[in-house]
């Protein structure tokens, strides 16, 4: 259930019709239909519908505890919804075999940990698991795919190094590389920039954009609104377990929406370097007099 009655600052409809309607119109490979998810009696997501548009980067944003990670985990089948269904390529994901889901959908959970001393090559090679069996544990196909995944994420040179000896940014690249080695063109990333400084976060998101350019559909959860705005083609804004607005960042990101979703006072200006809006938060400290809370609605 998403509302689209918000008034945008630049006029025109809030929801980017082009992308969203194409998605709802059936081209979407992954969608939630009326899903309700809860932990031990507490309902986190209530009867939510969303369709992931194919071939673009979709980012789920929202305040802490709004259920954005829960939504991503439900879409990836980590969580079983109490009601409703998640549909992957036209089939109820709950009825698919775990292994078949893993062949279609790559998932990178938040802050994964590798055993100490495990090498990059071994970690990325594990991404082939859904395609392997007891007898067929390592084929030349596997080697080719892993080689490509390493090269694509720029970690080929690190293949022999232990994962725990890498920097945070390199480590995240390696994990994304493992997800790529799964050989899916649908990637779900839960906060891929957690614990990374801004430069490394940009580095990882540039990689995500490369993957998108090469044909992947990406769904991710991000905390940083400006990074989400810059790197996504489709934003899903959540609040209290339901979708407040969704669409292209240019249409969705407005001062009003930010206030409604996050309770954040901000100015939305033209990004001096990008073609997307830029959010300038207004706190209380060091703000010029004209922007103080007087005109708060």
């Amino acid at each position: 259930m998403y509302k689209s009655q918000l008034n945008p600052s630049k006029g025109g409809p809030v929801v980017a019709q082009s992308v969203t309607e194409a998605a709802v119109g059936g081209a979407s490979r992954l969608a939630a239909r009326g899903v309700t998810v809860g932990y031990g009696g507490r309902v986190v997501i209530d009867k939510l519908d969303v369709a992931i548009p194919p071939g673009v980067i979709t980012t789920i944003i929202g305040p802490n505890g709004c259920g954005k990670s829960t939504l991503l985990r439900t879409l990836s089948r980590l969580l079983k919804p109490a009601g409703g269904t998640v549909v992957l390529d036209g089939e109820d994901i709950g009825r698919l075999r775990t292994r078949d889901v893993a062949k279609k959908l790559g998932l990178l959970p938040q802050a994964p940990v590798a055993p100490e001393g495990l090498t990059v090559a071994d970690l990325v090679a594990r991404g082939r698991h859904p395609h392997q069996s007891w007898l067929r544990q390592w084929s030349s196909d596997d080697a080719d795919v892993v080689e490509r995944a390493l090269a694509m994420t720029g970690v080929s040179d690190l293949a022999d190094r232990p994962v725990d000896a890498l920097s945070g940014g390199q480590r995240q690249r390696v994990w994304i590389s493992m997800t790529l080695a799964q050989g899916t063109d649908l990637l779900l990333l839960d906060e891929p920039t957690t614990y990374l400084d801004l430069a490394h976060a940009l580095d990882v998101l540039d990689l995500v954009d490369d993957l998108h350019e090469s044909g992947c559909t990406v769904v991710m959860v991000l905390h940083d609104l400006n990074l989400a705005t810059r790197y996504s083609d489709h934003l899903v804004v959540m609040r209290e377990g339901s979708i407040l607005a969704q669409g292209h960042p240019r249409d969705v990101v407005t001062a009003e929406l930010l206030h409604e979703a996050f309770g954040l006072r901000a100015r939305v200006i033209d990004d001096p370097v990008g073609d997307r809006p830029l959010i300038v938060p207004i706190g209380r400290a060091h703000v010029r007099p004209g922007h103080l809370p007087a005109q708060d609605t």
């Binding site: 893993a102 959970p109 994964p112 090679a125 007891w134 080697a143 892993v146 022999d160």
Partner: protein, 353 residues
């Protein structure tokens, strides 16, 4: 067999018809060396005793080409004990490798998870509680079976107490330690209040020993062990992504809840088989996987090498316990005395690098 060298950075694969696996020469070497060393110690151990048999004769007899006298001494008198050592060592090594991998924590050995202490408590209860009923149970079901039941029951209790929307390794260990403490308290209480003759019997069982094994006992342990190891080797492939945690494993198509439950049950049963065959031999399950992991230079305990390390440690300790020392010691004393320092040595050497 053709070895396909891909690119220098990736581990090469080996293909034999439709079967393919990763080629890890070092792991293979270490495993083969461990197997050879275990076999050697096994043979030496069989040869040593009041009627010594030379190593060549032992090996000839094992392959059915020995003399009749040797055959009687070896196959009828010494084989049960040596085989028991082998089976118990492998079972403890694999059990430890499984629990440590499942909990993702080297502390999580079957000793810590309450299996050993549960088996001990039940065994001591049966030995010490006077009256016809306990004695009848001991005679009919046998002490080993009762101990196995005690270990299994305690292991499952710990697992269900630790269950909270999945199993967290740290929680598993804390609950295991608590339950173990209760079981040990019960054991102590039983020993303190029991008749002094029963206490002596119970104590002899509690230190862990391979003395006086009969073919009957060993055969049961052997078959149980083989069945469990077969199950473990079938499921172990699905377990490999679980070293990265449940969520990554689920993303890679593993039904982690089911895989973990099966393997943990196997680990508990293997430890139970070991305890019922040899009493609670300390330290093997904790130290063998860690030693195997460092010898093989792998980030996680390798299953086969862990089992062989356990067998080598136990067989070697039994040999030392019987021969090298002026008094014959229970094997459990020696496993701790050898395994502990060796693990410390490996850890210190790693620090110095």
């Amino acid at each position: 067999m053709n070895v396909t060298e891909v690119k220098p950075s990736l581990p090469p694969g080996v293909r034999l018809g439709r079967v393919s696996f990763v080629w890890r020469p070092w792991l293979l070497c270490v495993t083969l060396l461990l197997a050879a060393a275990t076999f050697l110690v096994f043979c030496v151990s069989i040869g040593v005793g009041d009627f010594p048999v030379g190593l060549p004769q032992v090996i000839a007899t094992l392959f059915g080409r020995g003399e009749q006298v040797d055959e009687f001494v070896i196959m009828d008198l010494r084989m049960p004990r040596a085989l028991a050592g082998l089976v118990v060592g492998i079972a403890l090594g694999v059990s430890g490798a499984l629990t440590q991998s499942i909990a993702r924590n080297p502390l999580a050995s079957p000793d810590v998870l309450g299996i050993t202490s549960g088996a001990s408590a039940v065994a001591v209860f049966l030995v010490t509680v006077s009256g016809g009923t306990a004695a009848a149970i001991v005679n009919s079901a046998g002490l080993p079976a009762a101990a196995l039941g005690g270990g299994l029951g305690t292991g499952l209790l710990v697992y269900f107490l630790a269950w909270r929307r999945g199993v967290d390794g740290f929680r598993l260990i804390l609950i295991g330690i608590s339950v173990s403490a209760v079981m040990e308290a019960i054991t102590t209480w039983l020993l303190v209040t029991a008749d002094i003759r029963d206490v002596a019997r119970a104590q002899a069982w509690l230190v862990g020993s391979l003395e006086d094994r009969s073919w009957g006992e060993v055969r049961t342990a052997l078959w149980c062990g083989l069945v469990l190891l077969a199950v473990v080797s079938c499921v172990a492939f699905q377990f490999r992504p679980m070293h990265f945690g449940d969520e990554v494993a689920a993303g890679l198509g593993v039904r982690y809840g089911r895989v973990r439950a099966v393997l943990l049950l196997c680990a508990v049963l293997l430890a139970g088989v070991a305890v019922s065959a040899a009493g609670p031999v300390p330290f093997v399950a904790l130290v063998a996987p860690q030693v195997a992991m460092r010898l093989a230079r792998r980030p996680t305990p390798p299953m086969v090498a862990s089992g062989l390390t356990g067998a080598l440690l136990l067989t070697g300790s039994d040999l030392i316990a019987r021969t090298a020392l002026p008094v014959s010691l229970p094997v459990g004393v020696v496993t701790a005395a050898i395994g502990g320092p060796f693990l410390v040595y490996l850890l210190v050497r790693a620090n110095l690098r």
